[in-house]
C-alpha cells in the first residue's frame, strides 16, 4: 500500500529525523514557529492581565517574534534544509514591524 509520506528513519541519526520530517511536510517547521509565537504571546498577555489588569501587547508580540527569530536561526544550521529563505525573511520582516509598534507604544506606559 502506498503511503502519503515517506516515514523518517534513524539511519542518519536522531537529528536527521527532524530534517526528513521537514522535507516531507514543508509546513511543519512553519507551524512549529507559529505555535511557539502563539504560546508565548497568549500566555504572557493573559498572565499580565491577571496580575495587572492590562496587558502590554506590543512587548509580548516583540518577545514572541524575537524567540521565533532565534529558533528559525537555529533551524538554518542543519545541512538538510528545514526552512527556506522566505520563512527567515518573513520572521525578520515581522520583527521590524512589531519593533516599530513596540517603540511607538512606549509613550503609553511611561508616567
Amino acid at each position: 500500500m502506498a503511503n502519503l509520506f515517506d516515514f523518517p528513519n534513524l539511519t542518519g541519526g536522531f537529528d536527521n529525523v527532524f530534517g526528513q520530517l521537514a522535507q516531507q511536510t514543508i509546513l511543519f517547521p512553519i507551524m512549529f514557529l507559529v505555535f511557539i509565537f502563539v504560546v508565548i504571546f497568549f500566555s504572557g498577555t493573559t498572565s499580565q492581565i491577571y496580575r495587572r489588569g492590562d496587558a502590554d501587547f506590543p512587548l509580548w508580540a516583540l518577545v514572541s517574534f524575537l524567540t521565533i527569530d532565534l529558533i528559525a536561526l537555529l533551524m538554518t544550521l542543519s545541512e538538510t534544509q528545514i526552512i527556506n529563505i522566505q520563512v527567515l525573511s518573513i520572521c525578520l520582516g515581522g520583527t521590524f514591524l512589531v519593533a516599530f509598534w513596540f517603540f511607538m507604544s512606549r509613550g503609553r506606559f511611561e508616567n
Partner: protein, 144 residues
C-alpha cells in the same frame, strides 16, 4: 501622548534595532556557515545600507542645525524665526524608519503587493504627526 522628542526617539530606535537584528542574523550565518543565510536575500542588505546612510545624514543635519541654533538670536516673539533644530533632522529619522518598515512589509506581502496601500497610509500618517509636532514645538510648546 508624548511630544516630538519621544516621537523621534521611537523612529530612531526602530531603525537602530532593525539594523542590529539584521547584523546579528548576518553574523550568525557567516560564523556558522549555515545553508540558509539572510545574506542571500538581496533586499535586506540594501535596506540596511539605506538605513545606515539615513542615520549618518540625520547626524550631519542635526549637528549643522544645532550649531546654527547656537549662533542664532531671537528677533521676534519667543521663538526661532526659521524653526531651526525643530524642523531639520526629524524627517531623516522618518526616512530611516520608512526604509526599515518597507522591507518588513515587502518580506511579508511580496514585492508588488496590493497591500502596499497599508504601508503608504502608515507613512503618510507618521509624516502628518511629525509635521504637527514640529509646528507645536516651533510655536512655543514643550518639545517633550
Amino acid at each position: 501622548m508624548a511630544g516630538q522628542i519621544s516621537f523621534v526617539k521611537s523612529l530612531l530606535l526602530t531603525s537602530v534595532f532593525a539594523i542590529c537584528i539584521t547584523l546579528f542574523f548576518l553574523g550568525f550565518a557567516l560564523d556558522n556557515n549555515t545553508s540558509v543565510s539572510i545574506a542571500d536575500d538581496p533586499n535586506f542588505n540594501s535596506t540596511i545600507e539605506k538605513a545606515l546612510n539615513n542615520l549618518s545624514t540625520y547626524r550631519i543635519e542635526t549637528i549643522n542645525a544645532t550649531e546654527s541654533f547656537y549662533a542664532s538670536e531671537i528677533q521676534e516673539g519667543e521663538t526661532v524665526r526659521t524653526g531651526g533644530q525643530f524642523k531639520l533632522g526629524p524627517s531623516t529619522a522618518l526616512s530611516s524608519t520608512d526604509n526599515v518598515l518597507q522591507q518588513g512589509f515587502k518580506s511579508i506581502f511580496g514585492e508588488d503587493s496590493e497591500f502596499g496601500f497599508i504601508f503608504s497610509t502608515l507613512i503618510i500618517f507618521l509624516s502628518f504627526m511629525l509635521g504637527l509636532y514640529i509646528w507645536k514645538t516651533w510655536k512655543g510648546g514643550l518639545p517633550d
